[in-house]
Symmetry: C2
Subunit: 661 residues, 2 copies
């Protein structure tokens, strides 16, 4: 093609993309056209000249990843997927933001071909992209000929909002530290947020901020200059050491009468302004009509490049599966999350085994990590305390990408969101650890794990008042309730060594549900009757007869406390059964018959005991003993005594229930 002709085509394609964004949001009478319009040239440059992905194989493991951290610009993403040949039809676009469509309000992974991550909650997309870039580096570092097996870029689009959110700093700082040179972030600097000009709340020097975090910073002054954007991407791809941010200066709602104003952020342009904008784009087609040439334009660039890359990769893989049988099989298992053949044998605990469940967890990890080679995990600077520092497992960093021990730093939120990114990428069993009370900091990312159906594993230790001296800021109270209320999220609080093993097996075998293991700081003696398989059902009988008259349900450290309490009331004990209930969610997943056999007493004759908020327990028992105020700093036994977690007090409470006091 002649240069002039090419420029004409480029203009037509850009006009088609922008016009479609307008049509899509206008038709839905809903959506956020502002950034979707102004970031169109960036996406055009990326798809046309750089992005390597095969639209007919959207799950190809070595594709470039693209995360819309600004999920509200979804209309642009769907439009790009449509014009570049993904399975997103015109009808799908016309159903934008409608119930059951493939084009929901914010991108949802699993719903739309070509969407690599769900987006919406600002800032998390950047961390998810960091996770993907880490996964790419890790898999590449893990295998012989790794650079052929895994070699892609991770792109991410963000705006002011993402950068104002603190999680972005956590993720940016860690990405610089880890030298993730194949991570390329577009900062669409469009000058407006929902409420007004960005300068109302953000005046920092973003360029300097990225430099301080050891990033490569490129800047494109004119967000309409597609060639310059493309050149910047080309330069970014050459970075050998640092992640790159490309700051693209654009005008929000480009083309609209309100171009440059925040009013284009959250509302469709409408017919009149839409027509005005299309005229400015020089785009004269009717709504939702895109000329053949536009599809061909991307067909000849993005699609051909992607098809070829996929074919080349397949050819390489055809050889690799023969020359590297073991590696190939492992890689397949890793991406299928087939862990069954890699789990360590269940440990046999001596009857006098008594360790904190965080310690048992550490022991389990010590057995697991050598036998399950495709893990990557770490903690937010509490590896020693959470027992996640496994001997012999090397640190992952820029100089040792085969390492599997991550040092996330004191960045709980980014850690959890990065974990999501690693799992979205695939090929890795990811876990992360923190003190349980700091699940608060991780909450927004825990929700996104559940929503994206990612089998993340959270190792959360120091799980109750028994934290002791560190006091109320460090003693979880309401955190169990907080996690149990999240849909598609397994909370598992083991009572002893066997139950720790059960929790790990549940977590590792899960395909679509995250699991939080809630572990004690203090020692827990082995129960006489604990059982791994039974514990995996969420709740089971650990003491008494199935048809007992009264029932006490407990979790974690409180199970043994209840058993000890029964020793104090020997005449009453035979009328009681004790249920260990490590997981509400797993129990709810059992059949009605099983559930009825476990919770068989009259509602009034059931009591729950847990060293945490009673909130949520009324579903299982009329009498709920827990902690509905904040904790206190002091020696563990003193604190537990103050809050009634002694065998004498529990015995008294059980007695009161039985005697109907």
């Amino acid at each position: 093609m002649e240069k002039n002709e090419m420029k004409e085509m480029e203009k037509l394609a850009l006009g088609a993309i922008r016009a479609t964004v307008i049509d899509v949001t206008n038709r839905a009478k809903s959506g956020h056209p502002g950034m979707a319009l102004d970031a169109a040239p960036t996406m055009l440059a990326l798809y046309r000249d750089h992005l390597v992905a095969d639209p007919s194989r959207p799950e190809w493991i070595n594709r470039d990843r693209l995360v819309f951290s600004s999920g509200h610009a979804s209309a642009l993403l769907y439009t790009m997927l449509h014009v570049t040949g993904y399975d997103v039809s015109k009808e799908d676009l016309m159903a934008f933001r409608q119930l059951g469509s493939r084009t929901p309000g914010h991108p949802e992974v699993g719903v739309t071909a070509g969407v690599d991550a769900s987006g919406g909650p600002l800032g998390q997309g950047i961390a998810q992209a960091v996770g993907m870039a880490i996964a790419e580096v890790s898999i590449r570092g893990r295998y012989d000929e790794g650079e052929k097996l895994m070699g892609h870029y991770t792109y991410c689009l963000c705006g002011d909002g993402c950068l104002e959110e603190g999680i972005s700093q956590e993720a940016i700082s860690l990405a610089g530290h880890l030298r993730l040179n194949k991570l390329i972030l577009f900062y669409d600097e469009n000058g407006a947020t929902l409420d007004g000009p960005t300068s109302d709340s953000l005046t920092e020097n973003v360029k300097l901020r990225f430099l301080s975090a050891e990033w490569n910073v490129l800047e494109v002054e004119d967000g309409e200059d597609i060639d310059k954007i493309s050149e910047a991407i080309a330069e970014a791809k050459q970075s050998k050491a640092f992640p790159t941010v490309i700051i693209v200066h654009s005008k929000i709602g480009f083309g609209s009468k309100n171009e440059g104003s925040h009013v284009t952020h959250g509302s469709p342009l409408g017919e009149e302004d839409g027509a005005y904008a299309k005229e400015r784009y020089g785009y004269s087609y009717p709504p939702f009509e895109i000329p053949r040439e536009v599809y061909e334009y991307f067909g000849k660039t993005f699609v051909i490049r992607g098809n070829k890359a996929y074919d080349d990769y397949e050819e390489f893989l055809g050889d690799y599966r023969l020359t590297h049988k073991k590696e190939f099989a492992e890689l397949c298992d890793a991406f299928d999350r087939k862990v069954e053949g890699y789990l360590p044998p269940r440990p046999e605990f001596a009857p006098d085994y008594k360790k904190a469940s965080r310690q048992t967890s550490g022991e389990y990890l010590s057995a697991l990590l050598p036998s399950l080679p495709f893990t990557l995990g770490g903690s937010a600077d509490v590896a020693g305390s959470t027992n996640t520092n496994v001997k012999g497992i090397e640190r992952f960093d820029s100089t040792n990408t085969a390492g599997r021990d991550m040092r996330y730093g004191i960045r709980e939120f980014a850690m959890a969101a990065i974990n999501n990114g690693i799992l979205l990428h695939g090929g890795i069993v990811a876990y992360c650890a923190a003190f349980f009370v700091f699940a608060d900091y991780m909450k927004p990312a825990l929700r996104m794990a559940a929503l994206q159906e990612l089998p993340s594993i959270y190792i959360l230790t120091h799980d109750s008042l028994a934290v002791g001296e560190d006091g109320p800021t460090h003693q979880p109270i309401e955190q169990l309730a907080m996690l149990r209320a999240i849909p598609n999220f397994n909370v598992f609080r083991p009572a002893d060594g066997n139950e720790v093993v059960a929790g790990y097996e549940v977590a590792l075998e899960s395909k679509k549900t995250p699991t939080a293991l809630i572990l004690s700081r203090q020692g827990l003696p082995l129960l006489y009757t604990s059982d791994v398989d039974k514990a995996k059902k969420g709740a089971y009988l650990v003491y008494g007869k199935e048809d007992a008259e009264f029932e006490v349900i407990a979790t974690g450290s409180e199970v043994r406390l209840v058993l000890d309490a029964l020793n104090e009331i020997e005449t009453i004990a035979p009328r009681i059964k004790v249920i260990s209930m490590p997981s509400f969610e797993l129990f709810e997943a059992q059949d009605e018959e099983y559930k009825a056999s476990i919770l068989s007493c009259d509602y009034e004759k059931r009591m729950s005991v847990e060293c945490g908020s009673t909130f949520g327990w009324a579903k299982y028992a009329k009498h709920n003993f827990g902690v509905d105020r904040f904790g206190a700093s002091g020696k563990v036994d003193m604190v537990l005594g103050e809050y009634g977690f002694t065998k004498d007090n529990i015995a008294k409470l059980i007695e009161e229930m039985v005697l109907g006091k």
Copy 2:
């Protein structure tokens, strides 16, 4: 005193402080001496030469504020309070980290004289300090002769951990933007975190990062050089436009055999190493013995300065109360949070009033803000959507410190923590607003509000599936349960205009409990029988007879839905009563008689209806209808229909309960 003598005294005082830190942690066999030791010279310089506060009047409103964002260094803070004459005795120090002591593991406001903020969860202290600095500026800007009424510095001590947490960036960025020149942050750069050297996870250029956020950056190379530190503070106090960070390079665990190593971070030194360190300090007194000269040293500096400042202030205030009667009375009310005389009259709603509760909230704010002059509030870039942009209320910024409308930017977590700081400072009724689903981002600060007993007000809108098109990332499901599980936290979800007013009155009248108002995006018609006073009791009868046979409990938008459903089953309706329950917590605070009169039906004959997780509802009803999976993007009516929130379906469910199906 001769210069030599002064240096000797300084050495003695520093030795006494450090020795006491060692004694305190050794005796408790618990605590974090590392930073407490290395930051001692900074605190000595601050208290001796700069900090203006009167130890005998720790609540003096114009004192300098000091926040230990690194709350784990509490042993240092308690030691400083002791040697500078606060009501912290040697016995208190000896009870460090013991149950019921005044010296808990992390600083707790309200427990210890001289502790201005609770600390522990990293990063939040910086945001709380930013909030205090904002409060100071705001009060100063509000009054005639404001610069005499309110003129103090806010100091904050932080370490690597606080800076790794993302909230620090949110707070730092906003502080720079707002030009909080009287905010002085000490960054104790001691080279180690809990798990190892800081460089394991943090290699960013912190200096550049602060510069990018428009801070004044000072650096003290030798953390032992008290004079240099003092000079830096003096220079920082001169800053006319920018907040200042003083980067103090120190060695963790200074004096210990393990000086410079992370092993001093979380464990007491023990007797032997403690003795070694004391020898290095040249400090030869027995444990817990502090020579008289040390107290005198601070008596002649810090205490005299503070006493005089207090006396001068009182003298000024004596005049001010005469010359500015109205202002003085208002200031007193503001610091006492006496809002009663300032509340607008309760609005009378027309019978056909139908507005989203976020709109009613906006109307209430429009009436409140002109009549209650000591407010400061805003949103995380969703002022328009949360209806918190009140006409006539000017923006607060560096050029208009009398403004009361804050633009927090897209920084939910910092917003909530800054809000805590404003309330800790006192003199302001603070509120903040966000979309309800982003309560997730705010959670750690909501907990700190509850723990610190701060009457914060959260305006959280877009409260259910009725968010519609924005889809599952923006539709709250488990957030109500999350908040209800927090101790000392009021959740209030109004069903109509009257209940919105009730919620505001509860929130404004609260002295020690935060309140979250959970508001709808969609219109809510006025109930026929809603009542402000009754709603303030948390739950009350809105339909049917008190002694009805069955009972349906609902909140917010679902109250009217239930009433509409009853219209569909007229033969059954007379057997049913309907309870509106805007607040679990307020209901629980009522006497047993009232509670029994409201929840009077058999447990099996009660049903709850709420468009959110059913988690927690079993306490009040056997049958719980809600949403225990994530939402979906679509038109509001379509989404609500899909999830069963139609009058037909609710009618069917009620019928099933009544007929015992």
